[in-house]
């Protein structure tokens, strides 16, 4: 299958060239269209930077990145930014910025809101919604873009368990909407990784230390023998 992303020796450095912060170091990987990839690792390991690199929000300092066109991608952030306007207008903003007329965008927004079960809140002020509802609105905005690639940066990290389940169900629905839908998400929730991912990439200090099918990643002996750092991380997270 055609790859959605191909990275070769891609590095991202921030700060002054004399003393750079190495957010990603020589990452080489390929993500095929239709794959469900989870990025795991401790805080500051480079998960968010990798997602931003895939989405084109940061440029590689060195190395090469081939990515699906940005117009085919959508990205969800840990804390969605919703504008001071109605829920429907917030969702419509996405397709409008991608070239649809405002009328078309609003119609698409209503359809997308129906998919996330928020039709009745379409006219409400977005800033008055709960965290879980705001993330569902962001999910609807992503849906309205009709992407083939969905990138998610810890989308459930700041939500309560109930809202977490709702958003996770929507991620699942999103991924199942088309067989070619590529899902790449960063998460600290290993249960969520087990449920949603088909492949796990473990990062440490900006480097990819382990890249395994989900079943192998969670089978203790293999991880322990070949990737002891990743094994320690998993043990710590599950403890």
């Amino acid at each position: 299958m055609k790859p959605a992303f191909r990275l070769h020796d891609a590095s991202v450095h921030f700060g002054r060239p004399a003393s750079p912060v190495r957010a990603l170091s020589k990452v080489t990987l390929t993500i095929a269209a239709g794959e469900r990839v989870a990025l795991v690792g401790a805080n500051g390991c480079g998960k968010s930077t990798l997602l931003r690199l895939l989405h084109g929000l940061v440029m590689p300092t060195t190395g090469q990145v081939q990515a699906a066109p940005t117009a085919e991608q959508a990205m969800l952030f840990q804390r969605p930014h919703l504008m001071r306007t109605t829920v429907q207008s917030n969702v419509a903003l996405g397709p409008w910025l991608r070239g649809r007329s405002w009328r078309q965008a609003k119609a698409q927004a209503l359809e997308a809101l129906a998919r996330v079960g928020l039709t009745e809140l379409a006219g409400r002020s977005a800033r008055q919604l709960s965290g879980g509802q705001q993330q569902r609105v962001a999910m609807a905005r992503a849906w309205a873009l009709e992407p083939t690639v969905l990138l998610l940066d810890e989308p459930t990290a700041s939500l309560d368990p109930h809202a977490k389940r709702e958003v996770e169900a929507l991620m699942e629905e999103f991924a199942n909407a088309a067989s070619s839908m590529t899902l790449v998400f960063a998460s600290h929730n290993l249960g969520q990784v087990k449920r949603l991912a088909s492949r796990v990439i473990y990062l440490e200090h900006g480097r990819v230390l382990a890249d395994l099918p989900v079943a192998d990643f969670f089978s203790g002996p293999l991880l322990q023998q070949q990737y002891p750092a990743a094994h320690l991380f998993v043990k710590g997270e599950l403890a």
């Binding site: 952030f77 930014h81 001071r84 910025l97 991608r98 008055q128």
Partner: protein, 250 residues
Amino acid sequence: MTSFTESAATALQLIVSLDTGLMRIVGRSLSVSATACAIACALGLMGGAWLGVARFAGRSVVLTLLNTFLAVPSVVVGLVVYLLLSRSGPLGYLGWLFSFKAMVIAQALLVLPVVTALTRQSVEDVESTHGEQLRSLGAGTLVRSLLLAWDERYALLTVLIASFGRAVSEVGAVMIVGGNIDGFTRVMTTAIALETSKGDLPLALGLGLILLLVVLFLNVLIGALRRWRERSESGAAAYQKVPPVLQVSA
């Protein structure tokens, strides 16, 4: 003390009786400042929003200059406008010196850095936290700056009110370029300065009271806006950018 109470009583009488001379000065003052603010806000809101989002070589120099202009005394602005509009100046052919237009230009120039700098700060703060999400949706620099300025509209409304307060209460620039001509370019602040020097304290005090009331009204408006934002955002952080309390400046 007696002189003060007598002057205050006469001043109140002038206000209550809506004295024609007093009201003309107040009306002129408000219209000069409102026009100047409209011009400064049209340019400053757009420019400030763009500066808050755009990244280019020399940006820090532009910001340093902008922040320096925040502290420029109004008499200096008046002097520059005077030189520009004087008969031998580059814009002398317009014949605008000692006119309503000259005062509007001077106040607009005085207020423009305030509007631009506060708008830039407001938009840059929200750009740093959320601009990436708009970029992710496909918004370029200009669209992003306009969207973020729209999103920060309540904070920017406060900027607008604050800038009007700055314009209406300044005296140096309008004195220099307006000339304080009775019935033509005399505004509240210049009239206060003149009447005080002439010893006509009741009129000066009456104008001073009105000026204070205008500034008080603007401060109350800013407070009301702040509370409204708080309520509309149900507890979300609404006290982000509060402009300095309005003051009468020399």
